[in-house]
């Protein structure tokens, strides 16, 4: 009795569901396009709400970018290349920079260094050449107000005998083979970084890479020791990497002083070598991927060899086989 009741109940449900749609609507639904006016109206409403939600998210997200403290901002974005009274790193010592150049020019340069260099400005060109053609990146979330605050900070710190941004005390003890080996391990990722930072091979290549070389999201690091003007500047740079890509990664996972020393030792050892040719690794990688894909197609074909092909072909094949026997 209960089984019969269940069947009846199910049949009623099917009839009810099917009764909601005309045959044309069912056809349209099977085709997957939302055509009914009600659905269209609902879609419009939902997309409208999504738009409002998105705009709110935009406003919320825009606020924190401008809310950071100026000394913190300087420490996070400028100290990898500049000191205030500690001497030159990759970029110039900023002590009394407002006495060497007007605030107006400096503010303009801060907002878009690349544009000022490209405009042919002689002072910007001189800075660029002094930094061995390493262009200053545009500071993240910079605006006119932030630029003025940074210049105020530099002016105030320049008046002090010892600025908080004077820079690091870097050891001058000679590097050992062990330092270089550990640096190589850090580059490859075989030695984990204490604070959980990522291995250099993810984004950078170097002459002493493994079989298929290093990543190419960032520049080749074979001559980085020379490019950034040696031990002190490279160490300072690694304390707070200044590029927009590395900054967010190492902001929360900084390198330890030992790790910096090992990496600098490794990069010093590669400084005299030639950067690797990336095209060879690229071709090998592509060929390996293609071989894998072709193998995959054949594998799938053999895995599904008993699949349905066609009615006629199977009849012909069966008859041919029968004729032969």
């Amino acid at each position: 009795m209960s089984a019969l009741a269940s069947i009846r109940c199910r049949r009623r449900s099917v009839v009810r569901t099917a009764g909601r749609y005309s045959p044309r609507q069912v056809g349209s639904l099977m085709k997957g396009s939302a055509t009914s006016r009600g659905v269209r109206r609902a879609c419009q409403r939902i997309i409208g709400l999504a738009g409002v939600g998105g705009c709110l998210a935009l406003c919320m997200a825009a606020i924190p970018a401008f809310g950071q403290d100026t000394p913190d901002y300087f420490r996070q974005n400028c100290t990898s290349c500049h000191t205030i009274g500690g001497g030159r790193l990759t970029g110039p010592d900023l002590k009394d920079v407002t006495k060497r150049q007007t605030r107006e020019w400096l503010a303009k340069y801060l907002l878009n260094p690349r544009a000022v260099i490209d405009s042919g400005d002689p002072y910007a060109k001189k800075l660029y050449e002094e930094a061995r053609n390493v262009p200053m990146p545009t500071p993240p979330a910079i605006n006119a107000e932030r630029a003025q605050k940074l210049l105020d900070l530099i002016e105030a710190e320049s008046l002090l005998e010892k600025s908080q941004f004077k820079g690091l005390q870097i050891s001058t003890a000679p590097f050992t083979d062990e330092d270089r080996a550990r640096g190589h391990e850090i580059y490859l990722g075989m030695r984990r970084l204490e604070k959980g930072g990522t291995a250099c091979i993810s984004c950078h290549s170097v002459s002493k890479s493994a079989a298929l070389g290093g990543g190419r999201l960032g520049p080749d690091l074979t001559n980085v020791f020379e490019r950034l003007k040696g031990r002190v500047a490279l160490s300072a740079w690694l304390v707070a990497p200044g590029t927009e890509t590395m900054q967010p990664i190492f902001r929360n996972h900084p390198l330890s002083p030992d790790e910096i020393q090992w990496l600098v030792a490794f990069f010093e050892s590669t400084a005299a070598e030639s950067p690797p040719d990336p095209s060879r690794n690229q071709v090998s990688f592509l060929l390996a991927g293609l071989a894998g894909a072709i193998t995959g197609v054949f594998f799938l074909d053999s895995l599904w060899k008993n699949r349905f092909h066609s009615v006629r072909r199977s009849l012909v094949d069966a008859n041919t086989a029968r004729g032969k026997s």
Partner: protein
């Protein structure tokens, strides 16, 4: 529009709009048009090239999508795997192989739909838009693998924290603003595809139980629009 606001629009506002649309419309369509949750197979209309296009595409895209999900959900484990160079290379070559498999299958799917009159008749403009989006997305993904290796490593360190910042409602675009335009295109298109998802035949991915992966191959009949 300044670069800052463009970045905020593309990597904060747009993702939320797309995710919002995805969740609401997926539920709404399932409640209102349950019948339309189907892949609308065209195997019955054309079976000769079906296998060589659909199967490589599906197995390729499934593995690639799973890889992206693993990098998003378990970035530390992925980085631990990559900490030995040969393991990194094996993973990257496998990912590239499945990416190429997806591309081969997708191009095949598009050519098959464009050249077969019967299948063209049942292909809607929405399908063509979706194919276009998937094609650009796959080409940009494979190109990235070749131009900017090693994606599995830098996805885990840069893109995973960005995606988590979106999930936690504290969007941090600093991880993506300096990425090359090809990577930015891939991210934006991924969110657009998620937003477009509930309006397309892609919804069949969500139908549970989903036996597509392990059931025996079968011929599926496509129901005509003018069924009586």
């Amino acid at each position: 529009m300044s670069q800052h606001f463009l970045d905020q629009f593309l990597f904060v506002a747009l993702p939320y709009v797309c995710l919002f649309t995805f969740f609401l419309m997926t539920v709404y369509r399932y409640r209102v048009q349950s019948f339309s949750y189907s892949s609308l197979s065209s195997q019955f209309l054309e079976n000769k090239n079906h296998f060589w296009t659909v199967v490589p595409f599906h197995y390729g895209i499934l593995v690639i999508t799973a890889g992206h999900l693993i990098a998003f959900l378990m970035p530390r484990s992925l980085l631990a795997w990559n900490s030995v160079p040969w393991r990194l290379y094996v993973l990257e070559i496998a990912a590239l192989a499945f990416g190429i498999l997806t591309l081969i299958g997708l191009v095949g799917v598009i050519v098959r739909r464009a050249t077969s009159v019967k299948i063209r008749k049942v292909t809607t403009p929405t399908d063509w838009i979706l194919f276009g989006m998937l094609l650009v997305q796959t080409v940009s993904g494979v190109s990235q693998a070749l131009i900017y290796p090693w994606g599995s490593a830098w996805f885990a360190t840069s893109l995973s924290p960005y995606l988590w910042s979106i999930v936690k409602l504290t969007p941090d675009v600093s991880y993506v603003v300096a990425m090359p335009w090809l990577v930015k295109l891939h991210i934006v298109l991924a969110f657009l595809t998620i937003g477009f998802f509930p309006f397309t035949r892609l919804v069949h991915v969500l139908v549970i139980p989903n036996p597509y992966l392990w059931r025996k191959p079968q011929v599926v009949r496509w129901y005509s629009r003018h069924t009586k």
